[in-house]
Symmetry: C2
Subunit: 330 residues, 2 copies
């Protein structure tokens, strides 16, 4: 249980005071340290392998380098995994550590920032309850609206989510389809997203004069998916194309079709959302809507860093990242 190296150890080693160590380490603006002293300190730091304790620093400064990401209890699909990976990397570059908290519902009772004193809170899906938002603001902790935020309709990303649905419909309508199905993943935990994307589909159908989409549950099981496909095709006015909630659900639809000996897009056109790495490998290659998660994540990272450092940051990305990825399934 050797004690860790402290600034005092370094100070002794370099023959200076603890304060001086701190000044050179932090490049304190109002404290120009003599180059020679500086060098001596830096050398001692290197020799001893000193790194300031994050805890002591946090206690003293009143805040940490933590970016607290509040994730809902959704399964971590490819999209969220990608986001997490990129965000971790980008924030680490800026000296922030990403801490993720999965939370069913963010309430008074689960207010992790009280414990962690993060530099910033990022509620990745639902926005915070107003009273929590107030608590944070008054504690000086910025809240960065995430890209996936959901309820507010004029919000950029709800917009993005809705737009994904719209793009699906526009492409389908443009290729002559009049009756659309919607493949719902039937997973409680992503309900909010389903609602949003489906909303986009409904709206677009209305505007383009198509019928209401026929929503059917399509879990990731061949049999169930086949049932849904059979059902869509046996309607009085059969569905000729389906919008899937995401690419994984689209794979399920495709699998259900294969089971029935059907081929996309002729028997039924299928379009997904996300453009996961496997999408081009579907048979046929999956036509899908790319939400531009890459750009959105980068933008989110920049906004987080900006909020922490108090530096100007780019505006929240709007809908301009969404685009159709045309392949063969629709």
């Amino acid at each position: 249980m050797a004690k860790a190296v402290t600034a005092l150890d370094v100070a002794r080693e370099a023959g200076v005071s603890q304060a001086t160590v701190s000044y050179v380490i932090n490049d304190h603006p109002s404290h120009k340290i003599a180059p020679e002293t500086r060098a001596r300190v830096l050398e001692a730091v290197a020799r001893l392998g000193y790194t300031p304790s994050a805890a002591a620093r946090a206690l003293r400064k009143g805040s940490t380098d933590i970016a607290l990401l509040i994730l809902p209890d959704v399964p971590t699909g490819p999209a969220v995994a990608f986001l997490l990976e990129r965000l971790t990397d980008e924030l680490e570059l800026a000296g922030l550590v990403l801490v993720t908290r999965r939370v069913r519902q963010t309430t008074e009772r689960t207010a992790p920032w009280r414990e962690l004193r993060p530099a910033v809170v990022v509620p990745i899906v639902s926005s915070l309850a107003p009273e929590l938002e107030v608590e944070l603001r008054s504690a000086g902790i910025p809240v960065v609206g995430s890209l996936l935020e959901h309820p507010s309709p004029d919000d950029g990303t709800s917009l993005g989510q809705i737009l994904a649905g719209r793009y699906q419909v526009e492409h389908l309508a443009a290729t002559g389809h009049l009756r659309l199905g919607y493949a719902d993943p039937a997973d409680e935990r992503v309900r909010a997203f389903v609602r949003l994307r489906l909303e986009g589909v409904r709206l677009a159908c209305m505007e383009l004069g198509l019928d209401e989409p026929v929503v059917l549950p399509v879990p990731l099981e061949v049999e169930k998916a086949a049932e849904a496909v059979a059902r869509w095709r046996s309607l009085p006015e059969p569905v000729t194309a389906v919008c899937a909630y995401n690419d994984e659900t689209a794979f399920a639809v495709l699998a259900g079709m294969h089971r029935l000996g059907l081929e996309a897009p002729d028997d039924l056109a299928v379009i997904g959302v996300d453009d996961i790495p496997l999408a081009p490998l579907a048979s046929p290659p999956l036509t899908t809507v790319d939400q531009g998660l890459d750009a959105l994540t980068l933008n989110l990272a920049q906004r987080i860093v900006g909020a922490v450092r108090g530096t100007p940051s780019p505006p929240r990305l709007r809908s301009d990242t969404v685009r159709l990825v045309l392949r063969r399934s629709a």
Copy 2:
């Protein structure tokens, strides 16, 4: 910038000392607090919404509740995403927060534990350099060998990794295949894993008297995959079955086959590793090897918690979680 609520605020509110607040909050064993006092304190805590500062606590106790996961710079595929998700949840249940650090190479220069003072360090892939291992031990920070640790050959998981390859071959050999191909994802960043799984394949081939597997790069692109498939089939002694590095690579092989009008398993049998959610939805449904990541992750979580709390924990899971998932592609 309202100040956060401190133990002193609570103490005043409850009419006790700061020490007493701490005792009731921590249920200190040697300090039985009078029930009535206790109640008063608890009530004040609730009323004020008090949560102890993690930083102050860490500083005082000399260690944190952080479990530091050292991740190599590998792409976060479905398997790693799953592991991260489960681990976060399990550890949160035990009051630990998971902090992930992606690191190319863990050296003296990047020693995040010096800054973070985590309760435990988990190098998820490569084991730590010996001198770092020593540093941690002497600082009293336990290191929990991860499930994916790689170089030591007698190690449980290398074993697991090698075993995945072995299972692939055993199934293929049992179904009459003599000439095997190996689909290498051709991604530098997962080289270590490829080597291990391929090793298992090679060993098994030798023991079962099969030829050396024919290794070909198969990135996630239809064209490239088709090339590999064509190549395998046009060999003087054609390959009749291929072991894919993982399920995603197996999807690529399948896609390459479709492009050439070929069908698994008759034209070429294909077997993956991981059993990702999409595996049953491949066409044909993908036969694969499940590494039992679920059980492995739970075991890892238990070992982490055990190491931190100093309580007994289960032994590292060995190879017993690996199993064949028989579907239709092989």
